[in-house]
């Protein structure tokens, strides 16, 4: 009992335990969902041609794909393998899920970092501009850009951008075979440019809105008036006092968006032919490669949990009030 109490009263341990619970929940949920979807690896591979299989042929294929085992055996067999570091094998790619992910995760990570940086570079200044004089033309401008970012679907912006640049400037780095960061840095950066812009523009909108709201709220506080009365310069006031205190909601929003990006931006990855983790999951689902989807989604969930944890830690760095608690 005391041991249990010791664990539940320790915030860090509690946090880790609840994270593990979340991951187990995700594992079970994905496992069940995948099997609830009609079709299996046989019909996904053969399509309607699977109707022509004789019972003996079907049995041979079920044994080949491991579909002849009971569900419980399938689940614990997979989970046991994952715990020992074997994430499964993709017969489509003829590679292990670990190999696949070691190639796709860096692509997604790079895209996510660039997109978030661009989003922050667009969103925060725009939000501050809007908040600097509410209901003015400059606020309307900021709000309009934000609205555009929210309402233009990524696939539309992506396809239009690609079509226009390809036809007018013959500029289409994404038409080349994908270059990994370590293979060809220059081409890699070019290939990341358009997708990061598209994603960054979309994410800039919620960041801009959060910034605007947070800045307006902080500006109304007494300590800002006090600072101003003490003669703090407008620039220092804006950045050190207002923005500094408005950072917590902005960081929360950024962390959330970054977490989503790690799940793979499937649509943008498809249009710009980026072999990221989103496409890995999509192909896994299309091909009904259960182990690929289960393990990849588990890794994505793990990444999400870690980003959340880091975001929480970041609060302590940027806000002394959280540290004091």
């Amino acid at each position: 009992m005391t041991a249990v109490r010791a664990i539940t009263s320790n915030p860090v341990l509690r946090r880790i335990l609840s994270s593990l619970g979340t991951l187990l929940g995700v594992a079970i949920f994905v496992f069940v969902m995948l099997r609830a979807i009609p079709g299996n690896q046989i019909t996904a591979g053969l399509g309607t041609e699977a109707a022509a299989l004789t019972p003996a042929q079907r049995a041979a294929l079920e044994a080949y794909y491991g579909l002849d085992k009971p569900l419980v055996v399938q689940f614990f067999g997979w989970l046991g393998n994952v715990l020992t570091g074997n994430l499964g094998y993709s017969s489509r790619a003829q590679e292990s899920v670990l190999e696949l992910t070691s190639q796709s995760l860096p692509v997604t990570l790079e895209l996510a970092v660039f997109s978030i940086v661009l989003a922050l570079l667009i969103g925060i200044p725009l939000g501050m501009l809007s908040a600097s004089k509410p209901d003015s033309p400059r606020d309307a401008f900021g709000q309009t850009v934000g609205l555009l970012g929210l309402s233009i679907p990524a696939f539309l912006l992506a396809t239009a951008l690609l079509a226009i640049l390809s036809s007018t400037l013959r500029f289409n780095p994404n038409g080349e075979a994908y270059a990994y960061l370590t293979d060809n840095l220059l081409l890699n950066l070019q290939q990341m440019l358009l997708p990061s812009l598209v994603l960054g523009f979309g994410i800039a909108a919620p960041i801009m809105r959060t910034t605007r709201t947070a800045v307006l709220e902080v500006r109304g506080n007494d300590f800002i008036r006090t600072a101003r009365a003490k003669g703090v310069g407008p620039r220092r006031l804006q950045f050190r006092h207002v923005l500094g205190n408005a950072l917590v909601p902005i960081v929360t929003m950024t962390g959330l968006q970054f977490g989503y990006l790690l799940g793979g931006a499937v649509v943008v990855e498809q249009i710009f032919s980026l072999p990221g983790i989103g496409r890995q999951v999509l192909l896994g689902i299309q091909q009904k490669e259960y182990a690929v989807v289960q393990s990849t989604v588990l890794l994505i969930a793990l990444a999400f949990v870690i980003v959340n944890l880091l975001t929480d830690l970041l609060y302590r760095v940027i806000d002394p009030r959280v540290r004091a608690e």
Partner: protein, 517 residues
């Protein structure tokens, strides 16, 4: 279902529209079209844009569009098709059929080697055919060898096939990549990573879900390829492929969505239309009420204007068709009880069926399997409603659709089915009582069984044509299914590419004659 259309889905239609408008905005550079007649040269790399890479490299199990077409460039088959889908020699240089039709002797080409350097001989043929027939292999073409009792390697270059019954469709069946000749030393696991064929190209490199590269096979028995190398580059979105062709990164692609083909044309790419063997059809399950009654089925046939379905669902891009789509045996689309829409006749048939107030038929429709499915279904529903026939649409995600289709768990199904060059290969599996797809076809009759048997036993082309015309008429007279139209594939190339011949079975075999300047 057309093999592999499941690899093409998504938002291409919308994206295509977006792209078309973007082209207009950008002023649509159609000013120059350089090197219209580039001299055929040797060498170079052709980049082919594909929406997916092969989902398997094992030819006996490949049904996906990309897998079939890419593997066909690497592997050799005993017979082949020429550009008009006539059977021509492949790895078998010639063949003799005994007078009773029960023995087929294949004379193999000499001096052929596999990519790993080993020699191709009769032992490889025997081992391949035996393994394809073995149910444990789960080869998709096993049923095509149903008439083959045994295979003998008579000598190193001669193989004798002993048949249980004469089989006029056999030689055409041997021409598909699902019947690829594999070295007797190779295993499925090995070939899944390292293909080893006798084709015009050989496997070079694959990056899963990114690209696959093949290079010229200098040991190929036929004319050597002009291209040094072909890279199949995965660009999942068809509109993005068009963009990549405009920027010159990709020089060749095959599309099946007319909208994307239009964007490609607007982008001043060369686009060649090829009528396909695959056909759009409303499959009826005559084993489920109310479709058990031939009069109900005929009423549906009379209520449907095929051209209207084609015009509304596929922008008129295609041809109205009867059952048989292979060029040499093509059905006359007008040869049916209702060659054109006739609502009076439809009402008469319904009255004959004792249902003057109409019937309700449930139809399954796949969403996303191919671009026109839902539009076809909606037009069919509207047309049938005029004849008091209610078509209840059950629009399903493609996995769910395939499950129901396989189980024949439907009254009607809006489908796009793959055709085959030989009408026996195309339809005996559906409409003979022992066919492996007869459950899905939902119909068989002693007359059809007999006609198909005759068709198999007749080798004379003119007589075969007559028999398959009878089969076609029988299918239409009984309104077994309602055949609607065939569509096109669109081969888009940049001005640098020449020498490619598209085929009705969408084979890419003529990449071996293609060159790039």
């Amino acid at each position: 279902m057309i093999a592999g259309s499941h690899a093409r889905r998504g938002f291409t239609a919308v994206a295509g529209l977006v792209m078309a408008s973007a082209l207009v905005v950008s002023g649509c550079s159609s000013t120059t079209n350089p090197a219209q007649s580039a001299p055929a040269s040797t060498g170079g790399t052709l980049v082919v844009g594909v929406t997916s890479d092969p989902d398997t490299l094992f030819p006996w199990k490949a049904t996906q569009f990309q897998a079939v077409n890419i593997l066909q460039t690497i592997y050799g088959t005993l017979t082949e098709f020429d550009k008009d889908l006539n059977v021509v020699p492949g790895l078998a240089e010639s063949w003799d059929t005994s007078t009773d039709g029960l023995t087929v002797t294949l004379h193999l080409r000499k001096g052929v080697t596999f990519d790993d350097g080993s020699a191709f001989d009769s032992a490889d043929v025997k081992s391949s055919l035996d393994k394809i027939k073995d149910e444990k292999t789960a080869a998709v073409a096993a049923a095509s060898l149903a008439s083959v009792k045994s295979v003998d390697a008579t000598d190193a270059n001669t193989v004798t096939l002993h048949l249980t019954t004469p089989d006029a469709g056999l030689l055409a069946n041997l021409a598909t990549v699902n019947m690829a000749m594999l070295s007797s030393d190779d295993t499925e696991a090995g070939l899944n990573t390292t293909p080893n064929g006798t084709g015009a190209f050989k496997f070079s490199d694959r990056k899963a879900s990114q690209s696959m590269t093949i290079v010229r096979n200098d040991a190929y028995w036929g004319a050597k390829t002009k291209l040094d190398k072909v890279e199949f580059r995965v660009i999942p979105d068809e509109s993005s492929i068009v963009s990549a062709m405009q920027s010159g990164n990709v020089q060749f692609a095959v599309f099946d969505d007319p909208l994307v083909a239009q964007t490609a044309e607007a982008a001043s790419l060369n686009v060649a239309k090829t009528p396909q063997l695959s056909y759009h059809v409303l499959q009826l399950n005559a084993r489920k009420a109310p479709l058990t009654d031939v009069n109900v089925r005929l009423a549906m046939q009379c209520a449907i204007d095929r051209q209207q379905v084609l015009d509304t669902a596929a922008a008129g891009e295609g041809q109205v068709t009867g059952p048989i789509t292979s060029p040499a045996f093509r059905s006359d689309p007008a040869s049916r009880p209702c060659p054109t829409r006739d609502l009076t006749k439809a009402a008469e048939y319904l009255a004959k069926a004792g249902k003057p107030d109409g019937v309700t038929v449930k139809a399954i429709v796949s969403q996303g399997e191919y671009s026109t499915s839902v539009n076809e279904a909606q037009n069919l529903k509207a047309q049938l409603a005029d004849a008091k026939i209610t078509l209840d649409l059950d629009v399903l995600e493609s996995g769910a659709y395939v499950d129901k289709w396989i189980a024949a768990d439907f009254e009607a199904a809006v489908a796009l089915n793959g055709g085959r060059p030989d009408p026996d290969g195309a339809y005996s599996r559906y409409f003979t009582s022992t066919g492996n797809l007869n459950k899905v076809a939902g119909y068989s009759s002693p007359e059809l069984d007999q006609l198909f048997a005759q068709g198999r036993q007749t080798s004379d082309l003119a007589k075969r044509k007559e028999i398959y015309t009878q089969i076609s008429n029988n299918l239409e007279d009984n309104a077994v299914w309602i055949w609607m139209f065939t569509s096109y594939t669109y081969t888009a190339t940049t001005s640098k590419v020449s020498g490619f011949t598209p085929m009705a079975n969408s084979s890419l075999q003529y990449l071996r004659e293609t060159s790039i300047s």
